[in-house]
Symmetry: C2
Subunit: 312 residues, 2 copies
């Protein structure tokens, strides 16, 4: 048993969730604990979704591992993926960037080229942010999105008997990070947020819950199960060509969507080019427990806060 | 003439403002260039305000200069002050924190104690964020707030003939930073966001424009004048006890409000304990030019991005 104390993100977020009370009548419908917070504007037909994700030099990437435009794109993708997981339409972003001394003006410009190209492609207006100088590159991207009132896909909506699906093929990002080669390396450097899929899951498929695979299937599925107070039985997920079973089960930064639907719901085999694969079932049991082919699955997703494999 | 290239925040933000086009029909009413972005939710009686502000170890503070709870409080105050400047009511915040190796669990807890205490006192729900590890402390706080639809105080609303006012006494934060002593040092470490004043300016006084003094009167007044396409004539502002005229004119991190009202509007001498002082008049002239007692005032506010005194 490892003990990270507060360096275990979950202990700290649990403390913050308990401390960050939402008063009666607050327009904040959902606070800490899902991919996005939910805000209900007075009189509006929409709920708004808010998320913030950071990339830190030396933790999420190394100085020479990504081109500047890739980094900008990835920084925005991480937050867009949270909007996708809740079925939202992204509306705007705020970019807080701390520029290190090693970065040239041209690199800063190309970083924002990457942000702006993806922002334009997804209808996300760059509406503000903050610029600072520092020793290490640090970038925090906040995205605001919208969903019809009450319709956001949440982690806590899964029910016993729901069928569990995943988009895409898993393990490519971890494989690429390990090998720095080929399509897997490109996948690691240029992941995509599944925005259209998320809106399809919410609007057409009426999915009951969803989460994006940012930290690995085993950890993110555990989070979904914990939020819903249930367990899951799974088989091996579809693998990216060349990825190991462990990379597919535990590798992070996939940004595919894991979602649940009502029993018997007809899910298409593909959404555009993207395969949708049944990987299991939500069941009653110890909250958060995941059985792979009947055997308890160890949770090994990456925890960027503790910089350690996460072992609850 | 100094040339920072992109390290001059204004050159980069000007480029981003031009690139970050807001499409017709977007719910984003106002993007880059004011204290907050403005978002108009479909059908809502409110507009929403969004701002993001960062503190970076070694740039905005040194490791031993602030207690952890003070840092947490200050990180939130900076963003709340942007909400105050637009007359908004803060609703929620997202806190992205990068925790350096030197920080103990207790320090991280006390940092969030500072955030949570101020959040509770101002009705701001801590609704999410992101936690990471890193070499340097970095914290980005996004705050969302609300104002009645169309009522946000903006930088660009000043008109020729408008009277210019400032809250409080200026220079205390710069004095405290220099001396590390007494009330001025406390003022530097624990500034206040003027939320109630901002709401009073918007609702009761019908101020025509406002900005918060985060980077110094000379720089922030120049920004207000540039946004409004006008110039200003001022006298010396009220000084914090012991502060020099230069500290009062150019010192940053005051978080007082600078605002304009229609000619002849009756402005009370105090708002609660806070003095409100007439410091000048908005006039036609070269956009952004500020005359102090008839002499052009050099803009010397601190630019955290270029880490240099800002000389346009």
């Amino acid at each position: 048993v490892l003990d990270f104390g507060l360096r275990d993100e979950r202990i700290l977020t649990d403390r913050l969730r308990k401390s960050a009370v939402i008063p009666d009548g607050s327009p904040v419908v959902l606070g800490i604990g899902d991919d996005c917070a939910i805000y209900r504007p007075r009189g509006s037909a929409d709920d708004l979704l808010f998320t913030s994700d950071t990339i830190v030099e030396g933790i999420h990437f190394e100085r020479h591992s990504h081109k500047p435009a890739e980094l900008g794109r990835k920084a925005l993708t991480r937050s867009l993926s949270d909007i996708a997981a809740m079925g939202g339409v992204p509306r705007f972003c705020l970019v807080a960037l701390c520029v290190p001394g090693w970065a040239t003006d041209s690199q800063v410009n190309r970083f924002f080229d990457g942000v702006l190209a993806l922002a334009a492609a997804t209808g996300t207006v760059l509406a503000g942010g903050d610029l600072s100088h520092g020793e290490r590159l640090f970038c925090d991207v906040t995205v605001g999105g919208s969903v019809p009132r009450g319709a956001a896909l949440r982690r806590d909506g899964a029910r016993a008997g729901n069928e569990l699906y995943v988009s895409g093929q898993l393990g490519g990002s971890a494989l690429g990070f390990a090998t720095k080669k080929g399509k897997a390396w490109k996948r690691h450097r240029a992941p995509e947020a599944r925005l259209a899929l998320g809106q399809f899951l919410r609007g057409t498929l009426r999915a009951t819950s969803a989460i994006d695979l940012s930290d690995g299937l085993s950890l993110d599925l555990r989070r979904l199960c914990l939020a819903s107070g249930l367990a899951a039985q799974i088989v091996e997920p579809p693998r990216f060509p060349g990825a190991s079973p462990e990379q597919a089960l535990h590798g992070g930064e996939e940004y595919e969507l894991l979602f649940t639907v009502r029993e018997g719901m007809k899910v298409p085999a593909r959404f555009g080019d993207l395969p949708l694969t049944r990987v299991g079932t939500i069941v009653r049991g110890t909250a958060g427990e995941v059985l792979l082919n009947g055997v308890p699955l160890t949770t090994l997703g990456y925890d960027h806060f503790s910089r350690a494999r996460f072992v609850p």
